[in-house]
């Protein structure tokens, strides 16, 4: 799990161009949107692409996205539960 969290941190920083952030700055349990990392709607789309491109997981029901992308931890939980 810890390896996956670290991988996700690096992927998010690269994919979302968060150049001023270091992996250690990201709290796995902090909200990704709003007060946490302050991501926006384009970032949300980018996270969906990230899941598919790097982890082979396609979100089937868009209504699930809010819960999946609540935090880095929830993303990691979803990847582990849905990895084929």
């Amino acid at each position: 799990m810890n390896d996956l969290i670290e991988t996700l941190k690096a992927q998010i920083i690269e994919q979302l161009n968060l150049a001023e952030l270091k992996p250690e700055d990201i709290d796995p349990n902090a909200p990704l949107f709003g007060d946490g990392l302050g991501l926006d709607s384009i970032d949300a789309l980018e996270l969906i692409v990230l899941l598919e491109k790097h982890h082979g997981i396609k979100i089937q029901d868009p209504k699930d996205a809010k819960a999946i992308f609540a935090s880095l931890q929830s993303m990691a939980d979803y990847i582990i539960a849905n990895k084929k």
């Binding site: 001023e20 384009i42 789309l45 980018e46 692409v49 491109k53």
Partner: protein, 214 residues
């Protein structure tokens, strides 16, 4: 001649050289790499605007040039931001990001168009980025032309300034094609005969714009 507006600040960025209101600005760690040059300039200006890093190079260049004319126009923060217009132009549209977008979709076996890339496949998004950062909600227009056309921008801005909805405008040229880039931006404000003007107070004429550009 009744002067409708004055140019209160201007800047030029080209070949890793920056001029603001006629004065050359020195950059720390000047780099020949365009992206590194933009990041160095951003850090030197202490902008503290993380969204900068998400932008393509065209928008980064536009944001920095706009920042220079806005920071150097001696205006207070109390002007009406809903009356600030933005009129920009360039030659290469959003060609650099268009090329980057194509790279993400040219291989059908690795087809992952990036929202963060294709959102910048229109040149007028520079205007959006400047407007968002400064909360400007006035008129705007973006033109694509072979070369910078002072007459076109001057005419358009002059018409806008005749309206009560526009008191100020950020105008100019922001072009990026590979490592070739150029920004020329200037800030104009409607002449207010009841107040002392801000900044340089140069006449807003096509001739003056052309002189500053060259």
């Amino acid at each position: 001649m009744i002067m409708e507006a004055t140019i209160v600040s201007y800047c030029k960025i080209k070949n890793n050289t920056i001029w603001v209101n006629g004065e050359k600005i020195n950059i720390d760690n000047n780099s020949v790499d365009f992206t590194a040059f933009l990041v160095n300039l951003y850090r030197q200006m202490n902008l503290n605007y993380p969204k900068f890093f998400k932008m393509d190079n065209l928008c980064k260049l536009g944001i920095l040039a706009a920042e220079m004319v806005i920071q150097n126009n001696s205006k207070s923060e109390n002007f009406e931001k809903d009356k600030v217009a933005i009129f920009l132009s360039n030659n290469s549209s959003s060609i650099e990001t268009d090329r980057n977008h194509i790279k993400t979709i040219e291989n059908k076996n690795d087809y992952f168009p990036s929202p963060a890339v294709f959102v910048y496949t229109l040149p007028n998004i520079i205007i959006g980025e400047i407007a968002i950062k400064h909360k400007f909600t006035g008129e705007n227009a973006f033109f694509v032309s072979e070369t910078f056309d002072p007459n076109l921008i001057h005419t358009y801005a002059s018409i806008a300034l005749q309206s009560s909805h526009t008191t100020d405008a950020v105008c100019g040229w922001v072009n990026v094609d590979g490592n070739e880039y150029e920004a020329f931006m200037y800030y104009i404000e409607k002449t207010n005969f009841n107040k002392v003007g801000h900044g340089l107070n140069m006449p807003h004429t096509a001739e003056m714009i052309n002189e500053l550009y060259n």
